[in-house]
Each structure stands twice: as structure tokens, then as C-alpha cells.
Symmetry: D2
Subunit: 372 residues, 4 copies
Amino acid sequence: MSLNSFGHLFRVTTWGESHGPALGATVDGCPPGVPVTEAQIQPWLDRRRPGQSKATTQRKEPDAVEILSGTFEGVSTGTPIQLMIRNTDQRSKDYGEIAEKFRPGHADITYWQKYGIRDYRGGGRSSARETAARVAAGGVARLALAELAPGLEISGYMVQMGEKKIDRARFDAGEIARNDFWCPDPVMAQDWAEYLDWLRKDDHNSVGAVIEVVAKAVPPGLGAPVYGKLDTDLAAAMMSINAVKGVEIGEGMAAAALTGRDNADEIFMGPGGPQYSSNHAGGILGGISTGQEVVVRFAVKPTSSILTPRRTITRTGEETEIVTKGRHDPCVGIRAVPVGEAMMACVLLDHILLNRGQTGSAPGETRGRIGE
Amino acid sequence: MSLNSFGHLFRVTTWGESHGPALGATVDGCPPGVPVTEAQIQPWLDRRRPGQSKATTQRKEPDAVEILSGTFEGVSTGTPIQLMIRNTDQRSKDYGEIAEKFRPGHADITYWQKYGIRDYRGGGRSSARETAARVAAGGVARLALAELAPGLEISGYMVQMGEKKIDRARFDAGEIARNDFWCPDPVMAQDWAEYLDWLRKDDHNSVGAVIEVVAKAVPPGLGAPVYGKLDTDLAAAMMSINAVKGVEIGEGMAAAALTGRDNADEIFMGPGGPQYSSNHAGGILGGISTGQEVVVRFAVKPTSSILTPRRTITRTGEETEIVTKGRHDPCVGIRAVPVGEAMMACVLLDHILLNRGQTGSAPGETRGRIGE
Amino acid sequence: MSLNSFGHLFRVTTWGESHGPALGATVDGCPPGVPVTEAQIQPWLDRRRPGQSKATTQRKEPDAVEILSGTFEGVSTGTPIQLMIRNTDQRSKDYGEIAEKFRPGHADITYWQKYGIRDYRGGGRSSARETAARVAAGGVARLALAELAPGLEISGYMVQMGEKKIDRARFDAGEIARNDFWCPDPVMAQDWAEYLDWLRKDDHNSVGAVIEVVAKAVPPGLGAPVYGKLDTDLAAAMMSINAVKGVEIGEGMAAAALTGRDNADEIFMGPGGPQYSSNHAGGILGGISTGQEVVVRFAVKPTSSILTPRRTITRTGEETEIVTKGRHDPCVGIRAVPVGEAMMACVLLDHILLNRGQTGSAPGETRGRIGE
Amino acid sequence: MSLNSFGHLFRVTTWGESHGPALGATVDGCPPGVPVTEAQIQPWLDRRRPGQSKATTQRKEPDAVEILSGTFEGVSTGTPIQLMIRNTDQRSKDYGEIAEKFRPGHADITYWQKYGIRDYRGGGRSSARETAARVAAGGVARLALAELAPGLEISGYMVQMGEKKIDRARFDAGEIARNDFWCPDPVMAQDWAEYLDWLRKDDHNSVGAVIEVVAKAVPPGLGAPVYGKLDTDLAAAMMSINAVKGVEIGEGMAAAALTGRDNADEIFMGPGGPQYSSNHAGGILGGISTGQEVVVRFAVKPTSSILTPRRTITRTGEETEIVTKGRHDPCVGIRAVPVGEAMMACVLLDHILLNRGQTGSAPGETRGRIGE
């Protein structure tokens, strides 16, 4: 019952602080026989890596992943895979003031209260650097998915920054990798770029975001009611990411405004099995995947580390102000995109293994056939 | 790793189908010495019970809870508490058509595909009747909370039905128990009553809802980063409830639209410790409770069981239409209110025990003191 | 992390006290599509049932199992199976003295110290009646094994009572069901009968025993190093049975006296794969089954509930004597035989599911082939 | 449900292979505020380290532990502690023959069968090198125990090598650290030295052993019936150690030969609470510690890696012979002593945290008082 672990059969335990010597993930339960090498995982880390554009923190971390165990001659052996990422650019001096003051909206105060000790350097364990370990683990999950569910594709992107939402009519999947924001709307990408520039330089402020992660060609039958539902595990996975305050499946919160008539995804018979008139459900019914696209969205709050002074208290209870001078992302949501994808990969792989364990169905098979 | 269990130290396993002989919850890890009797738990079940007004399904179930183990002379012994609720009003004939057809937007098709067998009577395991077991378990959790964290209060209510949202300016806590909708806004309660009447009788339709659950006097220090965060566990708990499609903590999805300056809950020194200028965070920072109110919202989709015909397929793959004639709730969100409260109670108790286990702090104590 | 649960994917949670209204097992993770009926499980309970001979307690319990959930038309659905057994013959008056005094060698004192409350009637949760729930769960496991690993057979028997060990030269599997002791040695069975009669009637005493449980045709590849080893889980399963003080795999404690040359099970090539010259390992190497017989032994201590007075203290700390008058087994080891078999069944099924989940191998398949 | 993890609240996940770059343990759930430094853990590793005498393998490993996370300024923060040990002396050439042949009595064949791939270098994951990670984790557990249960002492020693048992009349605790065998009997230590020398050099053989681990001043009330019993968890912990084939608590297997009259540990009232006339139970009743010494023994089989040829098969199914030339311990039981101690430390700490979580009792406190 490690509280720094997630997953059932594919189980990931992350460890490490922002300014310690290293951080990483212990990945247990990977199927044997999967090609897993550092070179295959590194690209996912590179996508999340800070310091790549002015839109994200200027901290320079190579985030080079080292595999310390669990593979042999480039292939997984079924034993735990240790993924280690060294911290190299720890300018601790930036964080001096934070040792005594609590940043509003930050884990500083709660870690102190709970534990009576905290590694204040860069947020310690509460730093978004922890998500690098998730991305590494997600890289392993993707490699296993490539073997077990070859057509399955996971794609994350930003659909909202502050009050600015993308126009779904302009959605262009090819655009996502072309801008600094994983934005599928080229017009909005430009708008966001200007907004963020102003926000950072002139307004000394930060802003929230909404990320959407979609998985295509998800096998039907994944998810184990009622407390291991696919949507339950996705909600937990996304909510565990730093700064996330809301999670939606399919219609999400907007489902409240719909009627049953409008919300029903009607069913037809297609060549490869059931087809649906729509996907309000986000690909999950009763906690089990339908075979449609699995659609998850989550909201990331604006970082509390800003250059604008905020009122707070010190550890000794004195009232004061704080300005966070370190190198921080004006929109942490941007870097949450690869993290959300990684969590999706881990959850889907885990449920493929679970489903295979209980029902004996290989990915894409189902015990109950329709039309036979 | 039971997939029908939730919680870490206070661990609840539910079992049972809609139309089997009984359903219930196996509650493990309750602290010893807590007064726990059927009479104390029954009122919570009565609140969730169907057949109480025309706003909910007309199925008549007494939902009488029986304690089969884990107490002695009315007090918990620390051993598993078995809570059983018999099913009495199972008119299976209502469900004949569903044996062959899949209701759109319902778990029928996914259970069939995954398991190759399903108890189609009333939805079987996927029925909302499962939530009665949660409410019973939540009753035990509340009794333990009354001992361990005496001031803690949990209150759930509906804030939106369809597109109709309450006016927070009219919020009246006393009103919640006075109407059929757990609505804190008396004007909106009247509006909803008329709307639901029309929806059910004339429109043969159903509608979604948003429920908010608030816990007051939550001890600071609850939650165990990074995968046992308090908000992570709350998100999982709420998303596991039938028909829930979105979960929010504090500002929730709206946090995306805020800037860091606006979203920061500034900190002051009050007589009893830190005070905050606002509660955008919903009482949780870095996954750990601050001592502020913990605020969770979740969206319940409209039920797919409606009298309006919807297109679907049969088990043999033929296209057809379906009309669900059974006794169904036009707004299942109403009965989700006590369920959300129960989940909140279970999660908070669990984290009180976890925090006490790891840090040694009794509820309300913290290892890190401020201003001393 | 229920502490009243065992198993990973096939997970059993037991509940109930000796003198409460009922006890049972919540079985989660059973594969769907397995024929499971009360009539099929009852015979296993009948084997464990007390009151069948003068060798065991005279308490009369029908131990009739009721399935409350998880099956539909006699077949498992993949949802939790609730197995309930009512207590009917609770002569609580027998246990009056125990309310105030602690029986030496019994859980009375530790339950009191730990929890500050105990159900003293018949030992409450610490009673061997709890094992009826294990046998019921084991019955479900056997039904699933019959589907998944058809040739697999589990057989338990007693090999030692007090200082009297069976003569393995006289081992006759057919004899096991013919006597009251599950004794495979007909000569020793007669000897034990006379000894136990004297022990109970004249000596007012009780005695320990050693039980051996063997599983044949166990698929190779079961067990998940290094903390989910097959032998680790078997050791935990057996040690969790009431009164068990030692567990052995294969040679067990005697392995200490062997040299590497003698202990090596040499390997040959047989028609169906590897064959071994011997089975010192008890069918498990490195925590993984070899395909040989899995052999487990465990020692059951003599019950502390005897008619001979023993010195003890009361709850108020006064020194006194105690004589346990209730209906107790002079050799609780006898009734542990079906319990040991049940635990073996649960552990093997669990590891078949786990192995299928991680490696994708159906029972009897292995990813690594030899001689191909 | 990581299968490379053990423990409930104090949860240890080990990772790494014999000849990979490193191995280690991810320790989650350590209480905050515990002084934990590399210098404090290293001595425990030094005790287990190979190459220290001719009695153990000549592989030279410094086994230097590095703490990569979870501490700040030398004190635990409550976040995961990563303990890494680099492998430095990996003479892989020694292991060439093992790539194609399976050593009898070794995990070679089962890893191959299960996973279809194995890191044959030095046994990979099945190597006893994995136990270094346990010892490091046990070092952390000891530091936490020093804070939480200051008087608690854990001591392991060998009581049997081959057929040669110590004479308990000569038991001298001070002797344990003075010889190469953790032997408390100075006469037997000399006998073993000569025997082992002969066994290794002349007989080209290996031999088994029995280790006893005793914990003194264990608080009463530890252990959570019925599947988290203290003895259940100890049995699993010890059985998970490489080459262990049997585990005993208190009287162990010998309990079978006792009568109830002889086995009863009679209870008296002492100045500090209950006192017992004897300790047949090994300090555990009903799965809960009594406050007496907790006594565990386990048998370690002789290593299968010997210079004497044994018959076996190759991966292609050909029959052959094997001689294991590498650097191996003639009595692996010797190095299992510190490992058994480490497992005891981890289990006791875990149960102190669990007991505190559920019952609220600090170590040494109990909810039920006697004589008050």
C-alpha cells in the first residue's frame, strides 16, 4: 500500500525530490519480452523537459534516463525496471526565502504541518519535477502497449489557456507538435504565445489550462467495476498530477446539463462490431471501455510561484509578503500534456493486464461476442 | 487488490447485485471502541432510499441494514464489520427486454463484452443499488469520525439540475433537508420540482446534475503525496459512483481560467493558526488538507433508462429500438447526494488513520507547528 | 490493504465471529463463466464441519453456505461472490468464565490488550470457526481451477499427531477419507484413535499435529519473485490459519541438514518436458513452480482450551486458574486439513491469474520453451 | 500490488539484478523526523557483505549505500527513501556456461520457463544479492524503531549448520559477533569452521543452516488478524528470502509433538503487566504480540551452485552435466543472518505503524489495560 505508487498489476512507484541527487520510478509488473531501452524512453522525457522554450521554466535539465534494472540485452525480463533521472541544475540559492515563508497556493505549508520537516528546495517532493518519473514510466508502458495493443494511440494537447479556448472547428492534429503549447488550433497557438509573453514579462503572473488526452483503438472490456473502473483509475491518475483541480471523462461536468435523450450514444452494428452515434460517454460505460476513443480532460491551476507579491506568513507565524523569484513556468499546464499522456498509457496497460488476468481475454478479444 | 474495495486502512469492499438476495459492504479497519449499531446507520440509508418521492424511482425497498459481524454489545471490536441489506422488491418481469437488448449509455453492453455473462436484472452489479452499500459503510465512517474528529461535519447538496444552477446568493443550509432535491436554494427547488415533473411525465426524459459535498473542520495534514493525495482519493471515490463523469476540487475546471494572482489563497495568522483569504484550493494543497473546508463537486449524467425510444442492437447483432419501462429515476443525481457524503466520510476517516499511522499525529495535531 | 483479506487477483476477505449471527467470505476476482453453486461448495464445508465424530468438537453446526451475490443462473459473473454461513448453535453460556479470565496460549489476552474490547464468546474473531469461511472460498477456487487447470488435484492429510508420525511406507491415498483423521496410514489411524480417546477422556488434554498438503499437476511458471513468490504466499496462507506455528515447503526445516549434492533435484528430459530425479524443492524454485508436485506442511499447536486447570490472570490483574469447559477439539489439527487444502486452492488460482495477467500465458503454457 | 514489495504502511520495493549496474530498495512510508544517513545504514550492509572471510563468496563488493531521496539534512521527510547500491565486481565471464544450462535446485529453469527470458549473469534477479537491498531497508527500519520503540532489540544467529546444532547450554550472546558464522556457541563455531573448510575445499559441496532471529522488548498489540497477523507477515518475510524452505514461530514444527498442558504459557501478574511462565508461543498469540520475545527460525537450503557435477539439461533439451565454478558461498545461511534481522525490523516497524493507525496506540501503549 505504498502511497507513492499507482497501478495494480503494472505498478509504478516514484521517488525523489526536486533538488536531491536524482529522482525516478520503480516500475513493477512489466510484461517480459518487451524491447525497453533508454533510447526508446528518452524522447518522451525530452517532450516534457523544461528549458525548451520561453514558455516554460528556464531550468536546464537534460533529464537523461538511466535504466538500472529489469532489462537484459534491451528486453524487459519481467522484474522491476528502475528508471533513474539525475538532477543536475539545482540552483538552490534561488529558493532561500522559501525556507521560512510559505507560498500561497503551494504545498509548502501543508508539508510543513503534516511532516514537521520539509525539503523546501524547489518544492522538494511536491515539485512538478516528480512528473519526469511518470513520463519515464509512461514510456515503458507505451513500449509494452506497442507489443500488446499495436494500434493503440495516445495523444494529449491543450484545449484552453486561461479563458482562451481552442476552436474545435480548426482542430488539426498535425499542428500539436508544431507549437510550444501542444495546441491543435494554429490560430489559438499564436494567440496563446502573445498572451503568455505578456503574462510573464509584463503582468508577472501565471495562468491555468485544460488538457485533453485521447486514446484511440482502446480494446473493449478494460476496467474492473466498481472501484477499479477505468474512469475511476483515470480520474485518480490525472488528479494526482501536480496542480490538477478537475478531471472529466467524455462530456465531463457538461453531462449535468444534458438530458438522457441527448446524452445517449445510440448503438449500431458496424463491420467490426458495435458502432456508436456519438461519444458522450468518453469511451467508458459502467467503468468498462467500449472500444470507442477514451477521452479525458483535466484542469491545471495557475502556478502559485509568481513575481507578483502575495501575502503570507512565516514558519514563526509572522505575516509577510512573498515574491517567488525562481525559474517557474507561467503556465504549468503546458508541461502537463506529456504527463497526462503518460498516465493514460500506464492506466491502459495496467487494465489490459488486469483484464487478461481475470477474464483470460487478450487485448482486443472479449468473452462476450455480439452478432455471433 | 480487490477491485471492489476502496480505502487504505479503512477499507470497504462492496458486493451484491440489484436483484440478488442481498447486497452489502465488508468494512475492514474500523477503529475499535466506536459505538456502531444498526439504529445509528439506518438513518443514512433512509436518506438514500428510493420510493420516497415522485422525484425518484418508485421501487420500494426498506433498505434495512443488518450488522452481521465486527461489533460486540454495540461497539466496534476492530474486526471486519459486515453490513447486509436485503433486496425485497425485485420485480424482475420489468426487465425482460433488457436481457436481449443493450440500453444505450448503460453498462449492459460492456459487462456483456467483458465477462460474456451478465445479470441483466436491474443492471445487476452496475445498478445504482450498489450505492446503498456505500452509504452503509459511510455510516460506520461517520460514527468513527464522531469519535476521532468530533467537530467534523459533512454536507452534500445539489447545485445544478440540467442547465438550472442554484443562485449562491440564496444559499440556505437549512433548506437542504426541506425539499426532495437536497437543494440549498428554495427558489430553485421549486423550479426543479416543476421541471422534473414535466420531464418525467411529458418529456419521457431524464437529466443530469451537479452535486457538491463540503466537509468542515477537517484536520490539517490529511493526505499522502503523491499517489495517495487527499484529492486523488476523493476524485477516485466520486468517479467510482454510478453515472459520474466529472470531479472537481475547489475551483475545479474553472481553475484553468484563473491567473496565479487571483487563484492564490493568501495566508494570514489567525488565533487558531493559519487563516486564508479565500479557498480556491478547496482545502487541499499538494494533496494535503489545509484545515479549510474540503470542497468537492461531481457531475452525474442523465440516466439512459428512459421511456423515449433509442436505437440500439441486440446480443445477436440486430439493430432495434429500446424503451426502458422499469422504475427509474428521472434525475439519478438526487440520490447521489447521500452517496457523495458517504464517500467523503470514508476517505476522510481513512486518511485520519493513515496520517496517524505514519506521522503519529492524532486528528487535529500536526507535527509542524506554526508560530511557536 | 484489508488486513482480513488475502490474495492478489483472486482476493478473499473473511468476516465474522464465532457467536455472531453469521460469518463468511467476500470473494473478489473470480473469473467469469465458472459454474458456482451452493451445492458444489457445500461438500467442502461438510468435510470441515464440527460435530462429526468424537475426535472433534461436539458443537453442532450445519455450516450451510448461502451465495448472496456474484453468480447468475449458477455461473460466476466476475463480480464479488458473497458466501455466508449462519451460526446456529451458539451456546454462549459455556463461555461465561472466559469473559473475565484469559486462557493461556490463546488470543484472549492479546485481543484485549490491542483493542480494549473483545467478543469473548467462543473466541470471537480468533475462533477456528473463521476457517469455515476459508473453506467456502476455497470451494470457489477449486471450481475455477477445475475450469482453468483441469488436471490439478489438491490433497491434504495428517502426517503426525503428537509424537506419533505416519510410516510413509504404508502411505495409502485411498485411506485418507476412511478415518476421522485424514490419515493416509491405516495402522497409525487406529493408533491415533485410541490415543485421542485417552487424551480427551482421561488426560483432559490436547495435542498438536502436522498436516501435509500436496498439489499435483500444478502448471509451471506460477509465482512472482521476489515478494509474491509461490512459497512466500503459501507460507503466509498457512501461517494465517489458527494455531499454526511452522510452515515447510518440500524438505522444509530438514533442508538445513542436507548438503548441496544431496539436495539437488537433478534434471532430465522427459516426454512432456523437464523431469526431476527428486523433489526436495517441493515443486518450487526461485519462488516459481516447476511443474512438480507442490508440497507444503504445517504444524498446528495443541489447543489451549483444555479441562486441565492452568494458571492465569483476570482482566483486573488477579492471579487465578482456568479450566476450559466448552466443546473443544482435542486435536484441532484434524479440522485444519480441509482448511490447508482450501488455502492451497486459493493461492494456486490466484497465481494462475497473476501469471496470465503479466506474462499472457494460459495455465500449462510457458513463455520459455525447452527443447524446441 | 507490486510483487516486488512487502509491508503495509512501511512498504519496501526492491529492484535490481546481480550483474546490472545497481540494485536497491524504494522505502515508502517511513515516519518523518527520523535521523537517516548513509553512515548509519552502511554498518548493516557491511555485516552482510560478501568477501569478508573464506566462509563466504569471494566476490568483492563494497556494497556502499547511497541515499537518493527522502531525507533532508540527514532526517527523513516522510517521502520515499531510495537506497541504491552499485554493483562493481561483476565478473560475468564466470557465468558463461549457465547461459545454456540450468543449475539443478536453482531458479534458472523456472525463470526461463515463466518469462521466456532471463538474465543468467549471476542469477539475475534470483541472486542472493537482492538481499543487500533488504538489509539497507532494514537499516532504515531500525533507525525508525530506535525512535519509536527505543528498547527494542533484534538479534539473529545461526543455530544449526548441516546436522550440527548448537548446544543451547553454551549460548553466549557476546560470542555471536566474534566468529564468521554468527554462532552463539563458541565450541560449535570452531566445529563449523573446520567442517566448512573441508566441505568447500575437499568435498566440493555446500550445506544448509537454521537461523534464529529474536526481537526483545516488542510492544504488545502488534499484528492485525486474521491475514495480517504478525506471525503471518513474519513467515512471508522470511520465506521470501532466497533458499529458505521452512519458517517457525516459537516452538515451530515441534509444537505438533506437544500437549496442550505442556504448550500453555501460563500467565502471572508482574510489576510491568502480564508475565508468562514460558514462551512456547514465540511471543505471538492469535497473531498479536504479547510483549514477550518474538522468536522466529528459518531453514536455508544448501546452495545448488557447487563444484561437484550434477546432471541437468540445456535450453535445447539436451541432457548434460553442470559444475558451477563461480564464487559461491558453501553455506549461504551465514549471510542470511543479517537478512533475517532486516526482515524482522521491517515487519515490526510496519506493524507499529499499522497498530497506531487503527487503534491510536503509541508503541508500548495498549487500549486494553490489565489490573487497572
